[in-house]
Assembly symmetry: C2
Homo-oligomer: 460 residues x 2
């Protein structure tokens, strides 16, 4: 019996991991990518330089034996470090457990690792081919060679669209009757800047092991309606990302001239100015990206076609779950293929039905978390509630796992995570309200923990 | 000075009215339509046979002097006539005022009237040309001659997309960055059936003036999750529309064999069975349409391109406002062109900003009204609340205009109508709750009116 022919459109992160999994199942996998091979041409990212890999992503990578390789190059971030306008710092651990960390990983390197692994498993990757059409019935993808202009039709048994937020495969599904679809943009865009290693910006290299700031944290400059963040890179640099409104007083359209950049940053992001030597030039020349949430339904056509990752559910980056949810798609699909012994007709509807509410949940949570990051993290009442959530968690890890932990440090389906996490928030809010935020702010961790214990015992 | 060149894509109802208005302003208007000329080829509707024209539509037609012509062929519907499963009828007037009626109008005839009027005003209509591309900068539309396959590029000063829910002009806008878009389908589809004039279905023609049922009403067979409606036509027939779920016990997929049709209709729509002589054949052969709500933003590109009507805000048909909102777009645009002396750069942003919240409001109201029509109209508490709303309206027409009246019998912007109407609903609900629905149900109109008056006086 000839082996099942699989075509995957898109060799990004989700496509790469999916290819590894399917090749290991013994399928004949060909992956088409519109960009040139990044291992020869240099990585051309459509997205950010680095990303935060968390439990779901790591779990999925473990399935193909790549977790250790990927994590060996990563930088653990056990918490957030907030920079206020005066440069004062506040640290907030993500969890009561020091082992609960998110991992800063290079997007380009992760992608190349997945491509190497896919090829080693027998996947054929065809670069420089853009999907221009998809036949959802055959199924087949039509691809145009970006250099010669010639067109090939790739017939297959199963077609996957792992081709990102502007998926060409989804574009064809969108033309079929009763296809639900939405794309909503934030009024905010993003722009990347670079903090080089310590010596390049006049910081004593001994201070943070060669980094210009503490490396083991996700840095945030929360400024209400806008913010800047920075994630550490393996080369001891940081990649900063501005998340600003396109318009308004804190908006990109407010700072458009060379001479406006430095004064604006000095006022709002003062402690970062000396750390970004190329600030003015980078600000003036780096592009502004836009941020969309994309939802659609259905995700599959029979057992022939499936879209996954950003192609079926692109989200905003504020929970660091874009890639983690894409990798989780791959893991869940692989598990269902085990359960249904490779029957795609049975797998795809079940996969879509199970994953859709979870994709919707993380899309909402990611939008909510933007408010948290740019605003709430600088709010004493929020920080106190977080301490109470941690105390509840320490008291009873089963009943009181906080939302952030469930999302980032567990594989609990997102919809369930949200439900549990929101209950914990309500309990924490009730405690803060009963005891009083001013009272609690000044409590030691021990005093706070015993107040929380007393409350929980009183109501159970 | 050469006259401003306008291209309108789509010669449907909104396109036709817009063309009349713009030609009267002295612009050089060309309208492209993908279908052949319905006045030669026969009308090929993409949509329903008839529609309910109400105040907004009539007001817009008055601006180009067409209201009288159109209404002369229409059938007034001052209320709803509900058919229960046993065939018993309940009438519910739309308003306390007998003059407040909606008008059943032939979609095809209305379209041809608008085309005639447009041509008489100097508009050039090019049929059989499908828009395949739009250049939002030039602006220009690229159109393919459906018979020869040849392609023309229509350069212009201002391009309008009046090309419906699957607008080709919007499709191009959708490819630009930061274009918000959503299309959501109901789980319900629709199918049309015909009740011929009285004599053809064994009803005494003297009974309803040649109609098989009372002509001056919108007939509804509310059945909870699904329903049938019927609107009268000028030829004394009725067009029935089934709004059923695609799937389920009351769904289209539940009745798929010839022999299943009659028993199902006899059980659920018993009094209609004898009135639809071709029931089984029509049911088996007529297509099932789908029902989408489409929202997007922005609606314009500079002063060069604007989409309107279903192209920018397609809604479900349950408030009968699809065409009324499209015609209102034309009226508001024409008024703004007066205000800005034909400056499209100033008009388009203002138009979009003003109309968008109103389009969103009627989209929501139309979805809500499906619940009302298929379910609430058979509910005694709802009918009592409606009586209270009418009594409030009679008491103080300024303060207490009910939602239905504001939407159907006024030109109050939809968003404002919703706000006022929902306040009136809250007052009516409070009255029903205070006095008790069982008590009120049995009250005479006079007793109910005096209870309502007493309540209002007690709280003001």
């Amino acid at each position: 019996m000839p082996s099942t022919r699989i075509v995957i459109v898109g060799s990004g992160l989700s496509g790469g991991l999916l290819a590894c999994m399917l090749a290991r199942r013994g399928y004949d996998v060909t992956m088409y990518e519109r960009r040139p091979d990044p291992r020869r041409a240099g990585f051309i990212g459509g997205r950010s330089i680095n990303l935060a890999l968390s439990c779901r992503g790591v779990t999925a990578l473990q399935r193909v034996g790549l977790a250790e390789t990927v994590l060996s190059d990563s930088i653990p971030m056990p918490g957030r470090l907030m920079h206020d306008a005066s440069g004062a710092l506040t640290y907030q651990a993500y969890s009561k457990d020091a082992d609960d960390v998110i991992h800063s990983v290079s997007r380009g390197k992760l992608n190349m690792t997945l491509m190497d692994a896919a090829e080693a498993s027998g996947v054929k990757i065809v670069f420089g081919h853009r999907c221009v059409d998809a036949d959802l019935d055959a199924p087949a993808a039509t691809l145009r060679d970006e250099s010669s202009g010639s067109v090939v039709r790739a017939e297959c048994d199963v077609l996957f669209g792992a081709d990102g937020a502007f998926s060409a495969v989804r574009w064809q599904m969108q033309k079929t009757d009763r296809f639900d679809f939405s794309q909503y943009y934030l009024p905010h865009g993003y722009k990347e800047l670079t903090i080089p290693p310590a010596e390049a910006c006049g910081v004593d290299p001994a201070r943070h092991g060669g980094f210009a700031m503490a490396p083991n944290a996700l840095h945030i400059w929360p400024r209400g309606g806008s913010m800047m963040i920075a994630l550490p890179n393996a080369d001891r640099s940081f990649t900063c990302t501005l998340f600003w409104p396109f318009e308004g007083e804190m908006g990109f359209d407010h700072v458009t001239e060379h001479e406006e950049v430095l004064p604006f940053f000095e006022e709002h992001f003062g402690d970062a100015v000396t750390l970004i030597p190329d600030l003015v030039n980078d600000y003036m020349t780096n592009p502004i990206g836009s941020l969309a949430t994309i939802r659609c339904w259905p995700w599959h056509a029979g057992g022939r076609v499936l879209i996954l990752g950003d192609a079926s559910h692109a989200i905003v980056p504020f929970y660091g779950q874009g890639i983690n949810s894409g990798f989780e798609d791959c893991r869940v699909l692989d598990e269902l293929l085990d359960e249904y012994a490779g029957d795609f007709e049975a797998t795809f509807p079940r996969f879509s039905r199970e994953r859709k509410p979870n994709a919707d949940a993380i899309a909402d949570l990611a939008l909510d978390n933007f408010i948290v990051m740019r605003d709430s993290v600088a709010n004493p009442a929020f920080l106190t509630r977080k301490r109470v959530e941690h105390a509840l968690h320490a008291l009873d890890a089963q009943r009181f796992t906080p939302l952030y932990n469930l999302v980032s440090f567990s594989n609990t389906p997102y919809a369930e995570a949200r439900e549990i996490g929101e209950r914990v928030i309500r309990v924490a809010e009730e405690i803060v309200q009963r005891i009083g935020v001013d009272e609690m702010r000044t409590m030691s961790d021990e005093a706070l923990a015993s107040s929380v214990r007393a409350f929980v015992e009183s109501v159970t």
